[in-house]
């Protein structure tokens, strides 16, 4: 068996720091889009290890895995650090014959972490949503825009946001955020 080459991520592993806000790449791993009706979701709750949120725009997390609600029949499953094929095989084995779609998107997108007291302010440079903690609480996630790019935005902490972005849009998003961090020394 030929040895598999290393993954070459869409973004370099460099961290951009500023006064009050830091942008860093998130660790690689496995990602899936899971789609299906309620019956399939129930099966996935167990198979994935963290129950999939039935509440709109909410993420759940357990044992390093996360499930982000993206639509009434659509979740983004994240398993940082895990091998896509292994996770896919496990899931396929544990999801019975109920109709659903499980699609590997581990390489379709990449992720960035924006954190710090000014994270909300920097995001507001290109995102029209109300990111106040009251309107966009910890655990909220949604498909939205940053500048001219689609992203999935997920608040993992009061001052921490996880941004999922398609790989070819990642350099744009990274540069967009850097530009908005410059006035804070970024």
């Amino acid at each position: 068996m030929v040895e598999r080459p290393a993954r070459l991520p869409a973004l370099p592993a460099s961290v951009i720091g500023a006064d009050g806000v830091t942008l860093s790449p998130a660790p690689d791993g496995a990602r899936f889009v899971f789609r299906g009706p309620e019956g399939a979701a129930q099966a996935a709750d167990e198979a994935w290890g963290t129950p999939l949120s039935r509440v709109a725009c909410r993420a759940t997390m357990a044992m390093g895995r996360a499930a982000l609600w993206l639509g009434p029949d659509e979740w983004l499953l994240l398993a940082p650090g895990e091998e896509p094929e292994t996770v896919a095989a496990q899931l396929a084995a544990r999801l019975p014959g109920i109709g659903h779609a499980l699609v590997d998107v581990s390489h379709r997108q990449t992720a960035l972490i924006l954190s710090g007291v000014l994270a909300e302010t920097v995001l507001a440079g290109g995102n029209p949503l109300d990111l106040d903690i009251g309107a966009f609480p910890v655990g909220m996630c949604t498909r939205t825009l940053l500048g001219k790019s689609e992203i999935v935005l997920w608040r993992t902490g009061r001052e921490t946001f996880h941004i999922e972005v398609w790989r070819s849009f990642a350099p744009y998003v990274c540069e967009f955020l850097r530009e908005h961090m410059r006035e804070f020394g970024g």
Binding site: M1, V2, E3, R4, P5, A6, R7, L8, P9, A10, D28, V33, R35, G36, P37, D73, E74, P84, E85, G99, H100, A101, L102, V103, D104, V105, S106, H107, R108, Q109, T121, A124, G125, G126, N127, P128, L129, D130, D132, A135, G147, K148, S149, W166, R167, S168, F169, P171, Y172, V173, E175, F176, E179, H180, R182, E183, F184, G185
Partner: protein
């Protein structure tokens, strides 16, 4: 460094910080806190610009954003030259360089001033009347000359080196304006705990209170109350104070545009800071406290340097300590003019006369003026002025009860204050589509019914009295925050006076000879307006456009109401009958940089690059833009041009093997028990019988039956399809599929996921393709039997999981390797290395186009244009005729869609076998027929075929399939035409033996 025109003390300037600046090259100084206007006044400079049309010498009329005259260019360096800035809003900094505009060679001696002498020849509508004939002159003579003469200031020519940022903000209450009403509103709203944004266009907050030395609020001098209130607001974490921030636009759903000027006032801006920031605020509630603007008076020669709004003169003396003249006359229609006269008097300015337009004024201010010894004339009017570069005298006359004017006398002075009453600043309210109501008492338009969540307080609502303004602001702020709080501010202030005038002041001069300016910036006069009425213009909207009144960059802030007054007189109508013009954004001129934000240069749009982009760059690829993607177009070697590179690349693919980056192809994974049924409905093809591990060329139509997209679809499992789309069509195809699933077929158990970027696609094409790949794959049998054309297999390549398609867009034996994107570059390099012994050649999109054209494969968007059916494109074989339905099926059965004479895809060969046709040229039967010719079709693709050694073309031709063998013609410019022969569209290997090898 003369401070001859400074008060001894006081004001908001920092006398310890003297700043040097230049105006038209003259070295001057001012103090920190000065605007350019106040600093110029303090230096005794009053001539600051030339007017737009007549090049009349003009001075500073106002102290704010309503300034129509004092427009200047501020120059930081070669690239940073901002024209048309209002000197009244430009804050001076050390080293500021400003120049005047619209004059040549100098402000004192301006050639364009001739326009003033010949003004009788330049009436309203001059252009429309004069440049009618000869007709042909408009484009070549009139327009270029008018354009050269028109316009104020010069646009900088280089790219803008400054940075601009945007920010989205949400708040419970946005308060616009930080005068007494705005501050009270912000205070009330902030007490509710919600998010409050308070913005003000000035550098300092406080509005009218900044220059108010006589009033007190809650037992404190106004300035102290302002300072304490601001300190209180600053300390509240949910309150954002935005000075130097203009609310310029009010859009639906309480969405407002604000521009914050971040660095323009700084001598050495921090490069990390943007020059300006565009705030897009979505406010639950808005409190508009934008104040009121003083009205100028309309009398003959009312535009000379030294003629100023009374409130502006008051601000210059009290706020800036700048003395605007030595001997002043006040012409006033109300009490507020007296406040200015008294402040000037206290500062040592001689008040030569007060001309009160009212017949019998009375009250505290009048008494105070008389106590101060000012000479007050009632029932007086201004009939004219003298002084070219600076006001020299004013003619005052008496008006009797019947409007008769007499007893004119001339008074020498260098300053004339105009106090014509107040116009509430309702621009933003009007932009919010709020209805305006004419208030007879105020003689002004005030806000009426509000269609959005907006409340108006203070002077903007016609509430001029300080106490009432504060109270109205507080209740508006409290109500906006959802409460019902009220506060009665204990105020000691002079009673507000609401008196005003509209229309021209009476005078005894020849009305055909004098000019009383209404719109100072566009040089339109009362006479122009009256002429427009005489010429038959009735609608205020028409008069406005004909005379350009109110259409300058100041948007008629000082001219709209005087215009309505004059029209009302001239038409014998009331003001509401005259009507009102519409306010549009922006409130003040706004730089383009704000709207661009960071969307410029590399960041204008996302630039999408494939996983193997870096490799292509290292090989010297030339790229082309395909949508947002960068695709390698060709790989030139040793100085090859595109033609030579394409020739070499195509031959390599036909003779050996080529490698091509197909990663940008759209990919959609269609999964679920009903996946095949869904595919049957979306695509024209039948899918039920497509076996697992097999591929099919799919065609998707729009509802109207025309080809929308195409691509190879592979079946990975009974319930899983790997669908590919065109590069540009990916998003539209997914949207349309999702739309059908959600709205038409919610019962289908099938789900869609975009997989475009999951996979890097490496196409390996050519007779040697199998030999290159065989050593690299594991778990896949590449033999023709195990993996025939249009089959797919899953396994690994270079240790990486792959979906390997045996497909060909070149007509050769070919494979498309799909690997997860992060492995794309590694696998590509391995395949390339393995291919070197076989002469593997990277090829780009240009060769791909040629190779597929040789095979007669269509490209959606090139052979199709939204009016091509599958049959037109020769693809009837792909249509599942037995299927009950698919998107577009019914449209295909309409008679027009089945007409035998529709344009059909054919091949064309030039009769001389040498000439390469131009893409897009028309095809006719008889090139000698008269123009317009009867056209049979057009060329969609045309190349010199490297494989065949002669030109080939694809074309859409009426009844084309029945014309094979015919000779037709392509007419070219210059009367020449090219003879072409109609042939089938497959030029190369029509039997497909190479494809199936």
């Amino acid at each position: 460094m003369s401070d001859a025109f400074r008060t001894a003390s006081g004001g908001r300037i920092d006398r310890a910080r003297r700043l040097a600046f230049t105006f038209d090259g003259r070295a001057l100084t001012g103090f920190a806190g000065d605007t350019l206007a106040s600093a110029l006044i303090a230096n005794g400079v009053h001539l600051v610009g030339r007017s737009f049309k007549y090049h009349r010498p003009r001075g500073i009329m106002s102290a704010g954003s309503d300034e129509p005259n004092a427009l200047v260019t501020v120059i930081r360096d070669r690239a940073r030259q901002a024209p048309n800035l209002r000197a009244t809003q430009v804050e001076i900094y050390e080293g500021l360089t400003a120049i005047s505009q619209n004059r040549w060679p100098s402000l004192d001696f301006d050639i364009g001033g001739i326009n003033d002498r010949v003004s009788p020849l330049l009436p309203a509508g001059f252009y429309y009347k004069t440049f009618m004939w000869p007709r042909g002159f408009w484009e070549k003579v009139y327009e270029p000359r008018i354009r050269a003469a028109a316009g104020l200031g010069r646009v900088p020519e280089g790219p803008d080196p400054d940075r601009y940022l945007q920010r989205n903000a949400h708040c419970e209450v946005l308060v616009i304006g930080s005068g007494p009403a705005g501050l009270a509103a912000a205070l009330a709203a902030a007490e509710s705990g919600g998010r409050v944004i308070l913005c003000d266009e000035q550098n300092e907050m406080g509005g009218s209170l900044i220059a108010d030395h006589t009033s007190s609020i809650a037992g404190k001098p106004a300035a102290v109350w302002v300072a304490e209130t601001l300190a209180q607001l600053t300390a509240m974490p949910r309150v954002t104070l935005l000075p130097r921030t203009t609310a310029f636009g009010y859009y639906p759903h309480n969405h407002l545009g604000l521009v914050e000027r971040v660095t323009d006032h700084l001598a050495t801006p921090d490069p990390g800071q943007p020059r300006e920031r565009l705030w897009q605020v979505r406010a639950k509630e808005v409190v508009l406290a934008s104040g009121a603007i003083e009205r100028p008076l309309t009398f003959p020669d009312n535009d000379r340097p030294g003629i100023m709004l009374a409130d502006a003169a008051h601000a210059y003396v009290t706020r800036y300590g700048a003395i605007p003249g030595g001997r002043a006359v006040l012409a006033t229609a109300n009490d507020s003019g007296y406040r200015a006269a008294l402040a000037l008097h206290e500062a040592g300015v001689e008040i030569a006369a007060v001309a009160d337009l009212r017949q019998a004024p009375s009250g505290d201010w009048l008494d105070a003026a008389r106590r101060a010894g000012l000479l007050v004339e009632t029932g007086a009017t201004v009939t004219g002025t003298t002084g070219r570069m600076r006001l020299a005298s004013v003619s005052l006359a008496r008006v009797d009860g019947e409007g008769g004017v007499g007893g004119t006398r001339e008074i020498g002075c260098d300053l004339l204050l105009m106090a014509g009453g107040w116009t509430p600043s309702v621009h933003l309210f009007s932009q919010s589509l709020g209805k305006l109501r004419f208030d007879e008492t105020l003689q002004a338009y005030v806000p009426g019914a509000a269609p959005q969540r907006i409340r108006v307080a203070g002077a903007a609502a016609g509430i001029y009295d300080l106490g009432s303004a504060l109270d109205s602001g507080f209740s508006a702020g409290a109500a906006a925050a959802g409460g019902d709080g009220k506060r009665n501010f204990v105020v000691v202030a002079a009673a507000a006076d609401t008196g005003s005038v509209l229309g021209s002041l009476p005078h005894d001069r020849d009305p055909t000879k004098v000019r009383a300016f209404v719109d100072f910036q566009n040089d339109s006069t009362a006479k122009d307006l009256k002429l427009a009425v005489r010429e038959g213009f009735r609608s205020v909207e028409h008069v406005k456009r004909y005379t350009t009144t109110g259409m300058a960059t100041d948007q008629g802030k000082t001219s709209n109401m005087p215009m309505l007054g004059i029209l009302s007189e001239a038409q014998g109508k009331t003001i509401p009958e005259v009507g009102f013009t519409t306010f549009r954004p922006p409130y003040t001129p706004t730089t383009f940089g704000n709207f661009a934000g960071t969307a410029r240069g590399e960041q204008f749009d996302p630039v999408r690059r494939t996983p193997t982009h870096a490799w292509a760059v290292s090989q010297g690829a030339v790229f082309e833009d395909v949508g947002l993607w960068k695709r390698a177009r060709y790989f030139p070697q040793r100085g090859e041009d595109m033609h030579a590179a394409v020739l070499r690349e195509c031959r390599a693919v036909r003779a050996g093997v080529g490698i091509f980056d197909g990663s940008t192809l759209g990919k959609i994974e269609v999964v679920g028990p009903d996946a095949a049924e869904f595919m049957n409905r979306m695509y024209v093809n039948p899918w039920t019988k497509l076996g697992t591990g097999r591929c099919r060329y799919g065609i998707m139509l729009r509802e109207d039956g025309f080809v929308m997209d195409d691509g190879v679809v592979g079946r990975l499992a009974p319930d899983r399809f790997h669908v590919t789309t065109t590069t540009g069509g990916a998003a539209a195809v997914l949207n349309m599929m999702e739309d059908y699933l959600q709205t038409e077929w919610p019962d289908l158990r099938v789900w869609l996921t975009s997989a475009t970027e999951q996979w890097a696609v490496i196409a390996v094409q050519g007779p040697a393709a199998r030999a290159v790949l065989e050593p690299l794959v594991e778990g896949i049998d590449l033999s023709a039997v195990a993996l025939p054309h249009m089959a797919l297999a899953e396994g690994t390549i270079c240790g990486v999981p792959t979906r390997l398609f045996r497909v060909s867009f070149t007509g050769e034996l070919g494979f498309e390797i799909n690997v997860p994107s992060d492995y794309g570059q590694a696998v590509w390099e391995a395949v390339y290395a393995a291919g070197i012994p076989h002469g593997i050649t990277p090829y780009g999109t240009e060769s791909m186009h040629v190779l597929r054209a040789e095979k007669g494969f269509i490209i959606v968007g090139q052979e199709t244009d939204g009016t091509v059916t599958p049959d037109d494109a020769g693809l009837t074989w792909a249509v599942g005729k037995a299927k009950p339905d698919f998107v577009g099926k019914r449209s295909l059965s309409r008679s027009g869609m089945m007409d035998a004479n529709r344009k059909q895809l054919v091949g064309l060969m030039s009769a001389d076998n040498v000439t390469v046709l131009e893409e897009g040229v028309q095809i006719v039967a008889d090139p000698n027929q008269p123009v317009p010719m009867s056209v049979l079709g057009h060329v969609t693709s045309s190349y010199l075929s490297p494989s065949l050694g002669h030109p080939i073309a694809l074309a859409l031709l009426a009844g084309g399939r029945a014309r094979h063998g015919e000779t037709l013609h392509v007419p070219m410019p210059g009367g020449r035409s090219i003879a072409v022969q109609v042939v089938p569209p497959v030029f190369y290997d029509p039997e497909g033996t190479r494809l199936n090898g």
